[in-house]
């Protein structure tokens, strides 16, 4: 089995994986980082979004081998110690989560948007979240949270 090595949340991690092992399986099952979720098998729900080299990626559709040598950030790596990341803080402040299952993917996806656009309009946020399903919130508060989080980030993570 090939070995993959990547920097996950700032730490170098390696593992032996099969060629077909998905990045999300590597994160959840090999590294025990269960904050990244799996909600579907057709790349539709976005519960699995992580950052690979700074951009959001659906970890259910990329192979672990593809991330060999990459910088990977998962939801576990976003906060600075016990200080929540501004996007996490915004989700909390605006009640942008209920059951929390879509949340890691939503937050990671939102951070990527905010990195590109520090003041997204409601319309831009709604369009950006095309690949993230939430069944609980009706998106209303997620949209508010993403806008506030993007502002708080001030154009950088």
């Amino acid at each position: 089995m090939p070995t993959v090595t990547m920097t996950v949340n700032g730490m170098e991690r390696s593992g032996n994986v099969e060629g077909r092992t998905l990045l999300v399986e590597f994160l959840r099952e090999h590294l025990g980082l269960t904050g990244t979720h799996v909600g579907c098998d057709t790349s539709q729900c976005g519960a699995c979004v992580v950052h690979v080299n700074g951009t959001s990626v659906k970890s259910c559709t990329s192979l672990a081998a593809q991330a060999d040598g990459a910088e990977v950030t998962t939801i576990e790596g976003l906060a600075n110690g016990s200080d929540l990341h501004p996007m996490q803080e915004a989700f909390r402040e605006h009640h942008g989560l209920q059951c929390g299952f879509c949340t890691p993917g939503m937050v990671m996806s939102a951070v990527d948007l905010a990195n590109q656009n520090s003041d997204p309009s409601e319309h831009e946020v709604r369009e950006w979240l095309e690949g993230n399903l939430c069944r609980c919130t009706g998106y209303h508060n997620i949209v508010k949270a993403v806008q506030a989080g993007a502002k708080a980030m001030g154009g950088g993570s």
């Binding site: 959840r28 980082l33 269960t34 904050g35 990244t36 979720h37 799996v38 909600g39 579907c40 098998d41 057709t42 539709q44 729900c45 519960a47 998962t74 939801i75 576990e76 976003l78 906060a79 929540l84 996490q88 989700f91 909390r92 402040e93 009640h95 989560l97 209920q98 059951c99 929390g100 299952f101 879509c102 949340t103 890691p104 937050v107 409601e122 946020v125 709604r126 369009e127 979240l129 095309e130 993230n132 399903l133 939430c134 069944r135 609980c136 919130t137 009706g138 998106y139 209303h140 508060n141 997620i142 949209v143």
Partner: protein, 785 residues
């Protein structure tokens, strides 16, 4: 009750959020047990077949495989039970066929469980399952109500002729017929309530363990009601006593009704773990969730409304056919009956109401509760019919509703319910104002100038939540009580653990319940934690559904806190050398009335656990449990207004505004309440415009993935305009009613009424859900001839 910064009425930020936001939630699939094996459930690819034989030899020899079990292995195990016995019009009990956890001799829907393969890894289990050779001898299938009731239709069960499970009724038929005899106008409507797939974003999962040394079983499962699962799985399926069966529903990623039922997989996993003496884990893939999570709704109805010359409702007659799917799921039978037929008075004074419901078995996934469960179906029918009546009689659609509102409370409906309180005019007025109903024609003209058809729709509705006195539901066929337990443990140093039998899977109970307790006890919000979801920790519980958690579970907690205070008064009286009657409790202090002599709750708690100086005869400790059996349903009510813009060229419907004016009783946490409303509205708009579960005639699921089943996405929805007018529930001490289902109950008819309003100038007078662009475009083409 004092209003403090984190008490009742404050939008406190949620306790649960930090763990969810940092990836530290603990959902079932996040749990791994030492030595665990993985189970894969082989499902039927055909809708109806005799199983001629199952050859597992190749699979058993595959790498990593530990065991394979099929229906015959589990033959001695009880079937999956159903929770509610319905009686037909003629007094006969419903037909209640067996439901083996693993199919025995026959499969009855695509997705039916056929075998479990247990292997070292997930992949090995799945690959081995592909090697199982099942001899399916296909039979004709019935995949819809129409097919099930057709002459000569295939039989899902031999014991259910015509595929009928029951033929039920509620209300006074003769009185209703008499009302129609007197009527000046009769308006009728045919509606279909589309079949939906719940699609909580967390797929179901379970991990079962058996400890041969103690005989203890543990099942972690994605459930809304762990104690109910313990009852059904233990007492009915596996024959295990409660003290040997622990059910844990940890963090659960949404339920919406689909995680109420006791599923076959829970029984299969637990039994398999017992056979192997090792933990077995199973996680449903989304593709299997589509064909194995219970589905929702699926009604065909025809209804007539009798009116006098002034538009007063005289009588309502409803005939409904409901699809129950291939087996009777836990609450399947009561959803289209006692959660549906008894809603037909709505907010109106209609003196005579009659509803009959015939429910059918089909070769489809079992149908059970889905957000609203029965009440959205009733509300949709009623509000479409009332709207149609206004149009046919040439009346204003707001005035026809107002003319018929109930204004005297308590109000006894002709279909069994007694409404305790409400103010339907107030929510209507609020909604009209907040939606700028009066300014609509100007907006319509503005849209028309851009070539768009704009429409506005309204629905005024009630719901019945917090079901219901146990004795009442028992007399109607429920096989369980519907009370709730709450325990409050004040620790020696004054912090508090609260134990509730309800389950939070997004609703924020850990916050709301802590607010109530912190407020009542005068304890810091941070010093109160709420524990739920584990049958080993919580005395008992019926779980979370039907917007019951606060009204029933919250009340149990309230009563437990009152008991704590009562006991605390005895301890304080002793310490203060006063009589118990003179002790008052406020803001965390026990005070001798009229003096400044007091003891804090912390001092009293410490004394309770270090009882050196203590009242004679009083038990040490400061912990109380209350079981609360509700006195009545609660009746949230409201008005929803939807405004849509239709592109007549493409048929595309855009929801441009949604306004809710809701009376959900006392609000503990406004932020959470509004969030619940948003979620319900999105679900309701999804039903109205996007979502539809379709089967082919042969019982193959056509909408079996997110590529075929349209979930509402952020760009499909507007922001919501939420407003409140509160009347308090009169029969629980907090005055609370319930909020989780409001949106999905109230909004679908408002959306469809708006779509029809938009299209009426083009000659379109009817529209079925979901109003997809294709359907709307076709309707326009047809109307234009």
């Amino acid at each position: 009750m004092s209003a403090n910064g984190s008490g009742i009425g404050a939008s406190v930020k949620r306790k649960e959020d930090t763990r969810f936001l940092t990836g530290r939630g603990r959902y079932t699939d996040d749990i791994n047990l030492p030595g665990q094996l993985y189970g894969y459930i082989l499902r039927s690819p055909v809708a109806h077949a005799d199983i001629g034989g199952i050859d597992t030899s190749a699979a058993a020899a595959a790498p990593g495989v530990h065991a394979i079990f099929t229906g015959s292995d589990m033959e001695g195990v009880g079937g999956i039970p159903t929770g509610w016995l319905i009686h037909s019009k003629d007094g006969e009990p419903m037909v209640e066929p067996g439901h083996p956890a693993l199919a025995l001799g026959k499969v009855r829907y695509v997705g039916d469980c056929v075998a479990i393969v247990v292997a070292e890894t997930r992949e090995q289990a799945k690959e081995a399952a592909n090697l199982i050779d099942v001899d399916y001898q296909e039979l004709p299938a019935v995949a819809s109500i129409e097919a099930a009731e057709a002459e000569g239709a295939a039989q899902v069960f031999d014991e259910a002729p015509g595929n009928v499970c029951y033929d039920w009724e509620v209300g006074d038929r003769a009185a209703t017929d008499a009302a129609f005899d007197e009527a000046t106008h009769v308006v009728s409507i045919d509606v279909v309530n589309n079949r939906l797939i719940p699609n909580a974003i967390e797929p179901r999962a379970a991990i079962a363990n058996y400890d041969p040394a103690t005989g203890d079983y543990t099942l972690y499962t994605t459930s809304q009601n762990p104690h109910l699962i313990r009852l059904l799985l233990g007492a009915f399926v596996l024959g295990l006593p409660e003290h040997k069966l622990r059910i844990v529903a940890p963090d659960v990623g949404g339920g919406f009704g689909s995680k109420i039922p006791h599923y076959a997989e829970e029984a299969i996993l637990t039994w398999t773990a017992g056979q192997l003496g090792r933990p077995v884990k199973w996680t449903c893939e989304r593709i299997d969730a589509f064909k194995s999570d219970t589905h929702g709704r699926d009604h065909i109805s025809t209804a007539r409304l009798a009116l006098d010359a002034d538009g007063k409702f005289l009588g309502l007659h409803v005939s409904t056919k409901a699809n129950l799917g291939a087996y009777l799921s836990t609450f399947a039978t009561c959803v289209p009956t006692y959660l549906y037929g008894i809603l037909f008075a709505g907010p109106y004074t209609t003196p005579a109401v009659y509803c009959e419901v015939k429910s059918f078995f089909t070769n489809t996934v079992p149908v059970d509760a889905l957000r609203g469960a029965g009440r959205p179906e009733a509300t949709y029918l009623l509000e479409r019919l009332v709207e149609k009546a206004a149009v046919e009689l040439g009346m204003d659609r707001v005035e026809i509703r107002r003319k018929n509102f109930i204004r005297e409370f308590p109000y006894q409906t002709p279909v069994a319910l007694q409404y305790d309180q409400g103010d339907y005019d107030a929510t209507l007025d609020l909604a009209l104002k907040a939606s700028d109903w009066a300014g609509f024609e100007a907006r319509r003209a503005e849209s028309a100038a851009r070539g768009k058809c704009r429409g506005i729709g309204i629905s005024t509705f009630i719901e019945a939540c917090g079901i219901a006195p146990s004795a009442v539901v028992g007399s109607l066929g429920a096989r369980a009580g519907l009370y709730e337990s709450g325990s409050v443990r004040v620790h020696p140093t004054g912090s508090v653990s609260v134990f509730t039998g309800t389950h939070s899977h997004g609703q924020g109970h850990e916050t709301t319940f802590a607010q109530i307790v912190s407020d009542m006890l005068g304890v810091d919000f941070e010093a109160v934690d709420v524990v739920h979801g584990d049958s080993a920790k919580i005395p008992f519980g019926m779980g979370t559904y039907g917007s019951r958690s606060l009204a029933v579970g919250g009340t149990a907690i309230y009563l437990a806190v009152e008991k704590v205070i009562e006991k605390g008064k005895k301890i304080a009286a002793h310490l203060l050398e006063a009589s118990v009657e003179d002790i008052e409790f406020e803001n965390g202090s026990f005070t001798v009335a009229g003096t400044d002599r007091s003891k804090s709750l912390g001092e009293v708690a410490l004394t309770a656990y270090v009882p050196h100086n203590y009242p004679e005869g009083l038990e040490p400790g400061l912990e109380e449990t209350a079981f609360y059996d509700p006195l009545n349903f609660t009746f949230p009510a409201g008005t929803h207004v939807a405004e849509v813009e239709v592109d007549p060229e493409t048929g595309e419907v855009e929801v441009v505004a949604v306004t809710g004016a809701d009376d959900v009783g006392r609000i503990i946490n406004p932020m959470i309440v509004d969030g619940q409303l948003h979620g319900g509205l999105a679900h309701g708009i999804g039903q109205a415009l996007l979502e539809e579960c379709l089967y082919q005639d042969d019982g193959q699921l056509q909408t079996g993935s997110y590529l075929d089943y349209t979930m509402p996405r952020a760009a499909d929805l507007p922001s919501f305009n939420i407003n409140h007018n509160t009347t308090l529930c009169t029969h629980n001490p907090l005055g609370v009613k319930g909020v989780g289902e409001v949106g999905s109950i109230g909004v679908p008819p408002a959306v469809i009424n708006a779509v029809i309003d938009a299209l009426r100038p083009l000659g379109v007078n009817d529209m079925a859900m979901p109003a997809t662009s294709q359907k709307v475009w076709q309707a326009i083409q047809q109307a234009q001839g």
